[in-house]
């Protein structure tokens, strides 16, 4: 199945749900309703994130839906995601092996938060 990045419009119901969840999250600094999906997808594509992750299926890394299910609504969810793709920690792959996670090539906190929130909104 091809990964088709959802457009912002198609994404609206999900974003509303995430926004509601974020209202109860003390550390959700960027409200999901403000997620710029196009910018997040562009950053992810630029950094080859989709080579290892898909929205709804397991590739080399877990599906974004699976990641979102794990961290959505948690106080430190956004921080953990940003730490994951800015510090390059060892991550366990779906085949059981380990490798260093890719480090995103931006230090712009706004961009990083937007990407994290986009992932959490899946």
């Amino acid at each position: 199945m091809r990964l088709i990045p959802p457009s912002s419009k198609k994404f609206a119901p999900i974003m509303i749900s995430v926004a509601m969840a974020a209202m109860f999250s003390v550390s959700a600094n960027v409200l999901a309703a403000e997620v710029d999906a196009d910018a997040a997808i562009a950053l992810a594509k630029k950094n080859n994130c989709f080579k290892c992750h898909a929205i709804d299926k397991t590739k080399k890394g877990p599906a974004y839906k699976k990641i979102a299910a794990k961290y959505k609504g948690k106080a430190d969810g956004e921080d953990k995601l940003i730490k994951n793709f800015t510090t390059g920690p060892k991550v366990k792959l779906e085949d059981g092996t380990e490798e260093d996670h890719k480090v995103i090539d931006t230090k712009d906190l706004k961009e990083l938060k937007n990407l994290a929130q986009w992932i959490l909104s899946q």
């Binding site: 199945m1 080859n48 989709f50 080399k60 092996t97 890719k102």
Partner: protein, 437 residues
């Protein structure tokens, strides 16, 4: 080439007989179109895919994972092709203005006799790439004029870029390990023409396999034909390779050529095993240069076409095909040749094409910067160098287009796809040929 001539040629071969559709009359509007992304691969060889340069994926490729297990996101092919074509580690000699991506429209049908594969793709140029290299008289000798655009002589402006457009299909019936996952990349290796670590003549001359099969360069090969798949020099013996072939370890390679086969309504028929080989028999085209003098062997018949040669100012103006049985006569060295006279470097002939090499026909046209090509492939071929297409069969296929005067790596290619011939709806294939009424 006029379409009527092609149709007459096809009719003469019985393609319009009772059990086969008239390929010119197939109603393609009733057959679904599959859009296949094609992208510029540059020098992303079998070896590069397995190297650390293929970031984060070498292990997966060596394990045999499919290319699309990673490159499956929307727009993946476009992103890759547009990046590589601009030049960089995978393209040391970028061609100005070349497309990194093309959309290939594919339709497929079959009847009791043939499979019909219809392809449409846009050309970069506002003219059909139906001319090929010429022999040009420089006042003393006949020399090749026109080269593919990856060649240094073209990039330095010393020669014009002249090379025919092509549409290629590689077919595996499941007997080539890895092809279902990694497609054409099974056949593309370091050492080949225009790839990294390109062979030298001395290396080829010293190579036991290539000397045994009488080849003077390195072209596509499949991994199991070498003891080390990543080293073209490690060829197995001819006997071992014959056993691989007998076991079906080869891929069919059909190439429609806008000059050398289109001229007579055909596509050539070859296969890849230890080299890119032609099927048994006689191919639709052959060289027109005399091996010793390099003068042409044939020229145009002035009584039929009004000229015996052309000059550079006539390029891209009309169909410049030299067809042995239609418009060619033996070359006359005393015909008053002048500097700049040009005669095609290749001679085409449907009448001379014979055997397994002459299996494939084609109808093609170019209009509004778009080629439309219908390949006609007989079903159930029994030659030992063909993959037999059968109703209900599923095949792994790779597609490639050579556009804008180029050859070797200068193509746009697809990730591997599956082609079925009338498979049931629950059998998942990318392209399912429909049975014609």
């Amino acid at each position: 080439m006029k379409k009527t001539l092609l149709l007459l040629s096809l009719a003469a071969l019985g393609i319009g007989s009772a059990c086969a559709a008239d390929p010119a009359k197939i109603n393609w509007s009733n057959i679904s179109v599959v859009k296949v992304p094609l992208f510029y691969p540059g020098q992303s060889t079998y070896e590069w895919l397995r190297s650390d340069a293929h970031k984060g994926a070498a292990k997966e490729v060596k394990r045999g994972d499919a290319c699309m297990s990673c490159h499956d996101e929307d727009g993946a092919e476009k992103d890759i092709g547009n990046k590589i074509v601009k030049g960089g580690p995978l393209e040391p000699m970028p061609v100005a203005g070349k497309s990194g991506y093309k959309e290939l429209k594919v339709q497929a049908a079959y009847d009791d006799k043939n499979a019909y594969l219809r392809f449409q793709w846009p050309t970069d140029n506002a003219y059909p790439g139906s001319e090929h290299q010429y022999l040009r008289f420089d006042g003393k000798e006949w020399k090749v004029s026109g080269y593919p655009k990856l060649d240094k002589v073209v990039q330095e402006g010393k020669q014009p870029g002249i090379y025919e457009d092509r549409m290629s299909v590689m077919i595996d019936d499941g007997k080539v390990a890895g092809f279902a996952q990694q497609g054409c990349w099974q056949s593309c290796h370091d050492g080949q023409r225009d790839n990294p670590k390109q062979f030298t003549k001395e290396e080829v001359a010293a190579n036991p396999l290539l000397t045994a099969i009488k080849k003077g360069d390195v072209r596509k090969y499949l991994p199991d034909t070498r003891t080390d798949p990543s080293d073209w020099k490690t060829g197995k013996t001819v006997e071992e390779i014959a056993k691989l072939k007998a076991a079906g370890y080869f891929v069919d390679l059909i190439q429609w050529r806008a000059h050398r086969s289109h001229a007579v309504g055909m596509a050539d028929d070859g296969y890849v095993l230890e080299w890119r080989l032609g099927d048994a028999g006689k191919d639709v085209f052959g060289g027109n240069a005399d091996a010793k003098t390099h003068a042409p062997k044939f020229m145009w018949d002035a009584k039929k076409v009004g000229y015996k040669s052309i000059t550079a100012d006539q390029l891209r103006k009309g169909d410049h095909f030299l067809i042995r049985e239609q418009n060619a006569v033996p070359f006359d060295p005393n015909a008053g040749w002048k500097e700049g006279d040009m005669i095609p470097d290749y001679l085409t002939s449907r009448e001379d094409a014979k055997g397994s090499a002459a299996d494939n026909n084609a109808i093609a046209s170019w209009k509004d910067s778009m080629w439309t090509v219908v390949l006609i492939r007989p079903l159930g071929l029994t030659n030992d160098d063909d993959k037999a297409l059968k109703e209900g069969g599923v095949y792994n296929v790779g597609f490639a287009v050579h556009d804008d005067n180029i050859t070797t790596r200068g193509h746009q290619i697809s990730f591997v796809k599956t082609l079925g011939l009338g498979v049931k709806k629950d059998a998942k294939v990318d392209i399912n040929a429909v049975k014609l009424p």
